[in-house]
Protein backbone atom coordinates (compact mmCIF):
# COMPACT_ATOMS: atom_id res chain seq x y z
CA UNK A 1 0.00 0.00 0.00
CA UNK A 2 1.18 3.47 -0.88
CA UNK A 3 1.82 5.58 2.27
CA UNK A 4 0.48 9.11 1.77
CA UNK A 5 0.92 10.71 5.16
CA UNK A 6 1.70 10.01 8.82
CA UNK A 7 1.51 11.89 12.09
CA UNK A 8 4.41 12.52 14.46
CA UNK A 9 2.62 11.54 17.70
CA UNK A 10 4.10 8.88 20.00
CA UNK A 11 2.66 5.37 19.62
CA UNK A 12 1.71 4.23 23.13
CA UNK A 13 0.25 0.86 24.14
CA UNK A 14 0.91 -0.88 20.80
CA UNK A 15 2.24 -4.45 20.51
CA UNK A 16 2.68 -6.84 17.63
CA UNK A 17 -0.51 -9.00 17.75
CA UNK A 18 1.62 -12.18 17.66
CA UNK A 19 3.38 -11.06 20.84
CA UNK A 20 -0.01 -10.40 22.45
CA UNK A 21 -1.41 -13.79 21.35
CA UNK A 22 1.54 -15.37 23.14
CA UNK A 23 0.93 -13.19 26.24
CA UNK A 24 -2.77 -14.13 26.30
CA UNK A 25 -1.99 -17.86 26.11
CA UNK A 26 0.35 -17.50 29.10
CA UNK A 27 -1.72 -15.14 31.26
CA UNK A 28 -5.45 -15.70 30.64
CA UNK A 29 -7.26 -18.89 31.58
CA UNK A 30 -10.66 -20.42 30.79
CA UNK A 31 -10.74 -22.08 34.24
CA UNK A 32 -13.47 -20.67 36.49
CA UNK A 33 -11.73 -19.09 39.47
CA UNK A 34 -13.06 -16.86 42.24
CA UNK A 35 -11.49 -13.48 41.46
CA UNK A 36 -13.10 -11.40 44.21
CA UNK A 37 -10.68 -9.21 46.13
CA UNK A 38 -10.51 -5.83 47.86
CA UNK A 39 -9.99 -2.48 46.14
CA UNK A 40 -6.59 -2.28 47.82
CA UNK A 41 -5.52 -5.74 46.70
CA UNK A 42 -6.63 -5.26 43.07
CA UNK A 43 -4.91 -1.87 42.82
CA UNK A 44 -1.68 -3.12 44.40
CA UNK A 45 -1.59 -6.23 42.25
CA UNK A 46 -2.45 -4.85 38.82
CA UNK A 47 -1.67 -1.12 38.71
CA UNK A 48 2.03 -0.25 38.71
CA UNK A 49 3.90 3.03 38.30
CA UNK A 50 4.26 3.83 34.58
CA UNK A 51 1.27 1.58 33.64
CA UNK A 52 -0.88 2.55 30.64
CA UNK A 53 -4.35 2.75 32.24
CA UNK A 54 -7.76 3.10 30.60
CA UNK A 55 -10.79 3.98 32.72
CA UNK A 56 -14.09 2.54 31.48
CA UNK A 57 -17.46 4.28 31.26
CA UNK A 58 -17.52 7.87 30.08
CA UNK A 59 -15.23 10.03 32.20
CA UNK A 60 -17.88 10.97 34.75
CA UNK A 61 -20.44 8.31 33.98
CA UNK A 62 -20.08 4.71 35.25
CA UNK A 63 -16.48 5.31 36.33
CA UNK A 64 -14.62 3.09 38.80
CA UNK A 65 -13.97 5.86 41.32
CA UNK A 66 -13.15 3.42 44.14
CA UNK A 67 -10.07 2.22 42.22
CA UNK A 68 -9.19 5.78 41.21
CA UNK A 69 -9.25 6.81 44.89
CA UNK A 70 -7.01 3.86 45.77
CA UNK A 71 -4.52 4.77 42.99
CA UNK A 72 -4.25 8.20 44.61
CA UNK A 73 -4.08 6.73 48.13
CA UNK A 74 -1.23 4.45 47.03
CA UNK A 75 0.51 7.44 45.37
CA UNK A 76 1.08 5.76 42.01
CA UNK A 77 3.32 7.78 39.71
CA UNK A 78 3.84 8.44 36.00
CA UNK A 79 0.75 6.64 34.82
CA UNK A 80 -0.07 6.92 31.12
CA UNK A 81 -3.81 7.53 30.87
CA UNK A 82 -6.01 6.98 27.86
CA UNK A 83 -7.89 10.24 27.37
CA UNK A 84 -10.85 8.29 25.96
CA UNK A 85 -13.34 10.87 27.11
CA UNK A 86 -11.27 11.47 30.20
CA UNK A 87 -13.33 13.80 32.36
CA UNK A 88 -13.60 13.63 36.17
CA UNK A 89 -11.50 10.44 36.29
CA UNK A 90 -8.62 11.93 34.29
CA UNK A 91 -8.66 15.34 35.97
CA UNK A 92 -8.75 13.66 39.41
CA UNK A 93 -5.68 11.49 38.72
CA UNK A 94 -3.74 14.39 37.18
CA UNK A 95 -4.66 16.79 40.00
CA UNK A 96 -3.43 14.20 42.53
CA UNK A 97 -0.06 13.94 40.75
CA UNK A 98 -0.37 10.33 39.54
CA UNK A 99 -0.07 10.98 35.79
CA UNK A 100 2.92 11.51 33.49
CA UNK A 101 1.37 11.25 30.02
CA UNK A 102 -2.09 11.46 28.45
CA UNK A 103 -2.80 9.61 25.19
CA UNK A 104 -5.53 12.07 24.41
CA UNK A 105 -8.81 12.29 22.52
CA UNK A 106 -11.17 14.17 24.89
CA UNK A 107 -9.42 15.28 28.05
CA UNK A 108 -8.80 18.41 30.13
CA UNK A 109 -12.51 19.33 30.08
CA UNK A 110 -15.52 18.58 32.29
CA UNK A 111 -18.15 18.76 29.51
CA UNK A 112 -21.00 21.13 30.46
CA UNK A 113 -19.21 22.12 33.67
CA UNK A 114 -16.44 23.86 31.73
CA UNK A 115 -12.69 23.38 31.46
CA UNK A 116 -10.74 21.14 33.84
CA UNK A 117 -8.48 23.63 35.56
CA UNK A 118 -6.36 21.24 37.60
CA UNK A 119 -5.21 19.09 34.68
CA UNK A 120 -4.76 22.10 32.37
CA UNK A 121 -2.45 23.69 34.92
CA UNK A 122 -0.30 20.54 35.06
CA UNK A 123 -0.15 20.27 31.25
CA UNK A 124 0.64 23.96 30.77
CA UNK A 125 3.50 23.75 33.29
CA UNK A 126 4.90 20.61 31.60
CA UNK A 127 4.32 18.27 34.54
CA UNK A 128 2.01 16.22 32.32
CA UNK A 129 2.64 15.74 28.61
CA UNK A 130 0.35 14.82 25.72
CA UNK A 131 2.56 12.74 23.37
CA UNK A 132 -0.32 11.86 21.03
CA UNK A 133 -3.73 13.16 20.06
CA UNK A 134 -6.66 11.24 18.57
CA UNK A 135 -10.30 11.72 17.75
CA UNK A 136 -12.68 9.78 20.03
CA UNK A 137 -13.54 7.48 17.13
CA UNK A 138 -9.85 6.74 16.53
CA UNK A 139 -9.01 6.04 20.16
CA UNK A 140 -11.88 3.60 20.65
CA UNK A 141 -11.15 1.81 17.35
CA UNK A 142 -7.61 1.27 18.68
CA UNK A 143 -9.24 -0.97 21.32
CA UNK A 144 -11.36 -2.70 18.68
CA UNK A 145 -8.21 -3.51 16.66
CA UNK A 146 -6.53 -4.92 19.79
CA UNK A 147 -9.66 -6.90 20.75
CA UNK A 148 -9.70 -8.43 17.25
CA UNK A 149 -6.01 -9.37 17.30
CA UNK A 150 -5.13 -6.89 14.54
CA UNK A 151 -2.28 -4.38 14.42
CA UNK A 152 -4.56 -1.66 13.01
CA UNK A 153 -8.05 -0.87 11.72
CA UNK A 154 -8.82 1.36 8.73
CA UNK A 155 -11.16 4.31 9.25
CA UNK A 156 -12.55 7.29 7.33
CA UNK A 157 -11.47 9.62 10.13
CA UNK A 158 -8.97 12.35 11.08
CA UNK A 159 -8.06 12.81 7.38
CA UNK A 160 -6.96 16.37 6.63
CA UNK A 161 -6.87 17.42 10.29
CA UNK A 162 -4.16 18.58 12.69
CA UNK A 163 -5.30 15.77 15.01
CA UNK A 164 -3.81 13.35 12.45
CA UNK A 165 -0.51 15.31 12.50
CA UNK A 166 -0.31 14.95 16.29
CA UNK A 167 -1.17 11.22 16.22
CA UNK A 168 0.94 8.25 15.14
CA UNK A 169 -1.74 7.18 12.62
CA UNK A 170 -0.82 6.65 8.98
CA UNK A 171 -2.72 7.44 5.77
CA UNK A 172 -2.47 5.09 2.79
CA UNK A 173 -4.28 4.58 -0.49
CA UNK A 174 -7.17 2.16 0.05
CA UNK A 175 -6.38 -0.66 -2.44
CA UNK A 176 -10.09 -1.18 -3.22
CA UNK A 177 -11.32 2.42 -3.66
CA UNK A 178 -7.98 4.08 -4.49
CA UNK A 179 -8.97 6.83 -2.03
CA UNK A 180 -7.02 7.90 1.10
CA UNK A 181 -7.80 5.90 4.23
CA UNK A 182 -6.50 6.30 7.79
CA UNK A 183 -4.83 3.32 9.53
CA UNK A 184 -5.50 3.40 13.27
CA UNK A 185 -2.95 1.38 15.29
CA UNK A 186 -4.14 -1.05 17.99
CA UNK A 187 -3.88 -0.16 21.69
CA UNK A 188 -3.44 -2.74 24.44
CA UNK A 189 -3.60 -0.86 27.78
CA UNK A 190 -1.64 -2.47 30.63
CA UNK A 191 -4.77 -2.26 32.75
CA UNK A 192 -8.42 -1.24 32.42
CA UNK A 193 -10.82 -0.48 35.26
CA UNK A 194 -14.53 -0.89 34.49
CA UNK A 195 -17.50 -0.28 36.81
CA UNK A 196 -20.59 -2.42 36.14
CA UNK A 197 -24.10 -2.93 37.49
CA UNK A 198 -23.65 -6.61 38.35
CA UNK A 199 -21.11 -9.37 38.08
CA UNK A 200 -20.48 -12.88 39.43
CA UNK A 201 -17.38 -13.85 41.39
CA UNK A 202 -15.65 -15.12 38.24
CA UNK A 203 -16.03 -11.80 36.38
CA UNK A 204 -19.07 -12.33 34.13
CA UNK A 205 -20.36 -8.78 33.97
CA UNK A 206 -23.57 -7.05 32.92
CA UNK A 207 -24.09 -3.32 32.24
CA UNK A 208 -27.53 -1.64 32.13
CA UNK A 209 -26.47 1.40 30.12
CA UNK A 210 -24.44 2.66 27.18
CA UNK A 211 -21.39 0.44 26.86
CA UNK A 212 -19.33 3.35 25.55
CA UNK A 213 -16.01 1.60 24.72
CA UNK A 214 -16.10 -1.10 27.36
CA UNK A 215 -17.17 -3.92 25.05
CA UNK A 216 -13.88 -3.49 23.16
CA UNK A 217 -11.69 -2.15 25.99
CA UNK A 218 -12.39 -5.18 28.21
CA UNK A 219 -10.86 -7.39 25.49
CA UNK A 220 -7.98 -5.04 24.60
CA UNK A 221 -6.52 -4.52 28.08
CA UNK A 222 -3.85 -6.89 29.37
CA UNK A 223 -5.28 -6.74 32.90
CA UNK A 224 -8.91 -5.99 33.72
CA UNK A 225 -10.31 -4.93 37.09
CA UNK A 226 -14.11 -5.01 37.36
CA UNK A 227 -15.77 -3.08 40.17
CA UNK A 228 -19.43 -3.89 40.62
CA UNK A 229 -22.49 -2.47 42.36
CA UNK A 230 -23.75 -6.00 43.04
CA UNK A 231 -22.38 -9.56 43.08
CA UNK A 232 -24.83 -12.10 41.66
CA UNK A 233 -24.68 -15.86 41.11
CA UNK A 234 -23.49 -17.50 37.92
CA UNK A 235 -26.98 -19.08 37.63
CA UNK A 236 -28.45 -15.59 37.32
CA UNK A 237 -25.86 -14.72 34.66
CA UNK A 238 -26.73 -17.87 32.69
CA UNK A 239 -30.49 -17.20 32.94
CA UNK A 240 -30.04 -13.90 31.05
CA UNK A 241 -26.83 -14.53 29.17
CA UNK A 242 -27.80 -11.97 26.51
CA UNK A 243 -27.12 -9.25 29.09
CA UNK A 244 -23.51 -10.32 29.61
CA UNK A 245 -21.10 -7.89 27.96
CA UNK A 246 -17.82 -9.01 29.57
CA UNK A 247 -17.17 -12.75 29.98
CA UNK A 248 -14.97 -14.01 32.82
CA UNK A 249 -11.91 -15.08 30.86
CA UNK A 250 -10.89 -11.46 30.22
CA UNK A 251 -11.23 -10.51 33.89
CA UNK A 252 -8.42 -10.48 36.48
CA UNK A 253 -10.14 -8.99 39.55
CA UNK A 254 -13.74 -8.59 40.76
CA UNK A 255 -14.32 -5.98 43.45
CA UNK A 256 -17.67 -5.39 45.14
CA UNK A 257 -18.13 -1.62 45.67
CA UNK A 258 -21.73 -0.38 46.04
CA UNK A 259 -22.00 3.28 44.92
CA UNK A 260 -18.45 2.85 43.61
CA UNK A 261 -18.89 5.49 40.90
CA UNK A 262 -19.65 8.41 43.27
CA UNK A 263 -19.59 11.40 42.61
CA UNK A 264 -20.16 10.27 39.02
CA UNK A 265 -23.42 9.11 37.46
CA UNK A 266 -24.34 5.39 37.49
CA UNK A 267 -27.18 5.13 34.96
CA UNK A 268 -30.43 3.70 36.34
CA UNK A 269 -29.07 3.74 39.91
CA UNK A 270 -27.84 7.17 40.99
CA UNK A 271 -27.15 10.55 39.39
CA UNK A 272 -23.93 12.53 39.68
CA UNK A 273 -23.30 14.46 42.91
CA UNK A 274 -22.98 17.98 41.51
CA UNK A 275 -22.63 19.48 44.96
CA UNK A 276 -19.51 17.41 45.57
CA UNK A 277 -18.16 18.00 42.04
CA UNK A 278 -18.62 21.77 42.57
CA UNK A 279 -16.53 21.50 45.74
CA UNK A 280 -13.88 19.54 43.81
CA UNK A 281 -13.81 22.17 41.02
CA UNK A 282 -13.48 24.99 43.53
CA UNK A 283 -10.72 23.31 45.56
CA UNK A 284 -8.68 22.16 42.57
CA UNK A 285 -8.83 25.56 40.85
CA UNK A 286 -5.61 26.45 42.70
CA UNK A 287 -2.56 24.36 43.59
CA UNK A 288 -2.66 25.57 47.18
CA UNK A 289 -6.16 24.25 47.85
CA UNK A 290 -5.90 21.06 45.74
CA UNK A 291 -4.11 19.19 48.54
CA UNK A 292 -6.89 20.12 50.99
CA UNK A 293 -9.37 18.21 48.81
CA UNK A 294 -7.21 15.09 48.53
CA UNK A 295 -6.26 15.15 52.22
CA UNK A 296 -9.88 15.33 53.29
CA UNK A 297 -11.47 12.87 50.88
CA UNK A 298 -8.70 10.39 50.02
CA UNK A 299 -5.65 10.38 52.32
CA UNK A 300 -7.65 10.80 55.53
CA UNK A 301 -10.26 8.20 54.61
CA UNK A 302 -9.54 4.49 55.12
CA UNK A 303 -11.45 3.26 52.11
CA UNK A 304 -14.30 4.13 49.73
CA UNK A 305 -16.98 3.26 52.30
CA UNK A 306 -15.41 5.72 54.73
CA UNK A 307 -15.38 8.37 51.95
CA UNK A 308 -19.06 7.74 51.17
CA UNK A 309 -19.91 8.35 54.84
CA UNK A 310 -17.93 11.58 54.74
CA UNK A 311 -19.80 12.94 51.70
CA UNK A 312 -23.19 12.37 53.31
CA UNK A 313 -23.75 8.63 53.68
CA UNK A 314 -27.27 7.24 53.31
CA UNK A 315 -28.99 10.63 52.99
CA UNK A 316 -26.76 11.65 50.12
CA UNK A 317 -27.20 8.30 48.36
CA UNK A 318 -30.99 8.51 48.74
CA UNK A 319 -30.97 11.98 47.24
CA UNK A 320 -28.85 10.87 44.25
CA UNK A 321 -31.13 7.85 43.71
CA UNK A 322 -34.14 10.19 43.73
CA UNK A 323 -32.49 12.44 41.14
CA UNK A 324 -31.83 9.47 38.88
CA UNK A 325 -35.48 8.38 39.05
CA UNK A 326 -36.71 11.95 38.49
CA UNK A 327 -38.12 12.34 42.03
CA UNK A 328 -36.06 15.33 43.14
CA UNK A 329 -34.92 18.69 41.82
CA UNK A 330 -31.65 19.01 39.88
CA UNK A 331 -29.10 21.60 40.97
CA UNK A 332 -26.08 22.95 39.12
CA UNK A 333 -23.94 24.62 41.79
CA UNK A 334 -20.97 25.14 39.41
CA UNK A 335 -22.88 27.44 37.02
CA UNK A 336 -21.43 30.94 36.93
CA UNK A 337 -24.23 33.41 37.59
Amino acid sequence: MNKLNEGHGELLGWYDPDEMREWIRKNKSPILKDKTMSVKEATTKFIKNNSYLASGGFGHVRVSMAIIHEIVRQKKKNLIISGKTGVFDLDFLIAAGCVGKVDNAYGFGLELRGLAKASRRKAESGQVTVPAEWSNAALQWRFKAAASGLSFLPGRIMLGTDTLKNSPAKVVTDPFTNKPICLIPACYPDVAIIHVHRCDKYGNAQIDANLVEDYELARAAKRLIITTEKIISTDEIRQKSWNTVIPYFYVDAVVHVPFGSHPCNMPNLYYSDEEHIAEYIKKTALDETTSEYFDKYVYNTKNFKDYLELVGGKNKINYLQQLESGKNKFKYPWVKK
Binding site: F58, H60, V61, E111, L115, A209, E216, N265
Partner: protein, 120 residues
Protein backbone atom coordinates in the same frame (compact mmCIF):
# COMPACT_ATOMS: atom_id res chain seq x y z
CA UNK B 1 -21.19 36.59 31.33
CA UNK B 2 -20.83 38.85 28.31
CA UNK B 3 -24.12 40.41 27.27
CA UNK B 4 -25.09 41.30 23.72
CA UNK B 5 -28.02 43.42 24.88
CA UNK B 6 -30.55 43.38 27.70
CA UNK B 7 -32.54 40.51 26.22
CA UNK B 8 -29.88 37.80 25.80
CA UNK B 9 -26.19 37.07 26.32
CA UNK B 10 -23.74 35.72 23.73
CA UNK B 11 -24.15 32.08 24.84
CA UNK B 12 -27.93 32.26 24.54
CA UNK B 13 -27.58 33.84 21.11
CA UNK B 14 -25.33 30.97 19.94
CA UNK B 15 -27.71 28.34 21.33
CA UNK B 16 -30.71 29.89 19.54
CA UNK B 17 -28.84 30.48 16.27
CA UNK B 18 -27.65 26.85 16.39
CA UNK B 19 -31.11 25.45 17.09
CA UNK B 20 -32.55 27.15 13.99
CA UNK B 21 -30.27 25.02 11.78
CA UNK B 22 -32.10 21.83 12.70
CA UNK B 23 -34.96 20.66 10.53
CA UNK B 24 -37.73 18.48 11.89
CA UNK B 25 -37.35 14.81 10.96
CA UNK B 26 -33.57 14.88 10.49
CA UNK B 27 -30.96 13.01 12.48
CA UNK B 28 -28.30 14.98 14.36
CA UNK B 29 -25.14 13.76 16.04
CA UNK B 30 -24.72 15.96 19.10
CA UNK B 31 -21.36 17.05 20.50
CA UNK B 32 -20.84 18.16 24.07
CA UNK B 33 -21.49 21.65 25.45
CA UNK B 34 -23.67 24.16 23.65
CA UNK B 35 -24.80 21.69 20.93
CA UNK B 36 -26.66 19.81 23.69
CA UNK B 37 -28.58 22.99 24.50
CA UNK B 38 -29.37 23.96 20.91
CA UNK B 39 -30.56 20.51 19.86
CA UNK B 40 -32.80 20.25 22.95
CA UNK B 41 -34.17 23.72 22.21
CA UNK B 42 -34.93 22.69 18.62
CA UNK B 43 -36.60 19.50 19.87
CA UNK B 44 -38.71 21.58 22.29
CA UNK B 45 -39.81 24.11 19.66
CA UNK B 46 -39.88 23.71 15.89
CA UNK B 47 -38.39 20.22 15.50
CA UNK B 48 -40.12 17.76 17.87
CA UNK B 49 -39.12 14.86 15.63
CA UNK B 50 -35.43 15.73 15.51
CA UNK B 51 -33.58 12.46 16.11
CA UNK B 52 -30.60 12.80 18.46
CA UNK B 53 -27.58 10.52 18.56
CA UNK B 54 -24.96 10.89 21.28
CA UNK B 55 -21.46 9.44 20.84
CA UNK B 56 -21.48 7.41 24.10
CA UNK B 57 -24.11 5.19 22.49
CA UNK B 58 -27.66 6.47 22.92
CA UNK B 59 -29.92 6.50 19.89
CA UNK B 60 -33.08 8.61 19.65
CA UNK B 61 -33.62 9.54 23.31
CA UNK B 62 -36.68 11.60 24.26
CA UNK B 63 -36.61 15.05 25.84
CA UNK B 64 -35.12 14.52 29.31
CA UNK B 65 -36.43 15.99 32.60
CA UNK B 66 -33.25 18.07 32.83
CA UNK B 67 -30.33 19.08 30.59
CA UNK B 68 -27.63 16.41 30.24
CA UNK B 69 -24.32 17.47 31.78
CA UNK B 70 -22.53 14.87 29.69
CA UNK B 71 -23.30 13.37 26.28
CA UNK B 72 -22.92 10.03 28.07
CA UNK B 73 -25.04 10.55 31.18
CA UNK B 74 -28.52 9.19 32.04
CA UNK B 75 -30.25 12.32 30.75
CA UNK B 76 -28.61 11.91 27.31
CA UNK B 77 -30.08 8.42 27.07
CA UNK B 78 -33.50 9.25 28.57
CA UNK B 79 -36.06 6.76 27.15
CA UNK B 80 -33.70 6.07 24.23
CA UNK B 81 -34.60 3.51 21.55
CA UNK B 82 -31.24 1.85 22.10
CA UNK B 83 -28.26 2.28 24.39
CA UNK B 84 -25.36 1.04 22.30
CA UNK B 85 -21.66 1.90 22.25
CA UNK B 86 -19.24 4.38 20.75
CA UNK B 87 -18.16 1.82 18.14
CA UNK B 88 -21.85 1.62 17.17
CA UNK B 89 -22.47 5.38 16.90
CA UNK B 90 -19.17 6.16 15.15
CA UNK B 91 -19.82 3.33 12.67
CA UNK B 92 -23.36 4.72 12.21
CA UNK B 93 -21.88 8.07 11.15
CA UNK B 94 -19.07 6.52 9.06
CA UNK B 95 -21.60 4.45 7.12
CA UNK B 96 -23.59 7.55 6.14
CA UNK B 97 -26.37 7.92 8.72
CA UNK B 98 -26.92 11.24 10.53
CA UNK B 99 -27.40 14.15 8.14
CA UNK B 100 -26.42 16.83 10.63
CA UNK B 101 -23.68 17.34 13.18
CA UNK B 102 -23.14 20.17 15.55
CA UNK B 103 -20.01 21.05 17.38
CA UNK B 104 -18.21 24.12 18.56
CA UNK B 105 -14.53 24.51 17.96
CA UNK B 106 -13.58 27.06 20.58
CA UNK B 107 -14.67 28.10 24.05
CA UNK B 108 -16.97 31.07 23.87
CA UNK B 109 -15.50 34.28 25.22
CA UNK B 110 -16.79 35.06 28.68
CA UNK B 111 -18.51 31.70 29.01
CA UNK B 112 -17.82 28.83 31.35
CA UNK B 113 -19.48 26.47 28.89
CA UNK B 114 -17.61 25.07 25.96
CA UNK B 115 -18.03 22.51 23.26
CA UNK B 116 -15.31 20.30 21.86
CA UNK B 117 -15.07 19.60 18.16
CA UNK B 118 -17.24 16.66 17.24
CA UNK B 119 -14.73 13.88 17.48
CA UNK B 120 -15.40 11.50 14.60
Amino acid sequence: MKTVNKLYNITEMMVIAGSRLFENGKCVVVGTGLPVLSTLLAQSTHAPQLVLVYEAGSLAPLKPPTIPISVGDSMASYKAIMTASMDYTMSFIQSGFGELRQSLLVPLPGSSTFGSPFPC
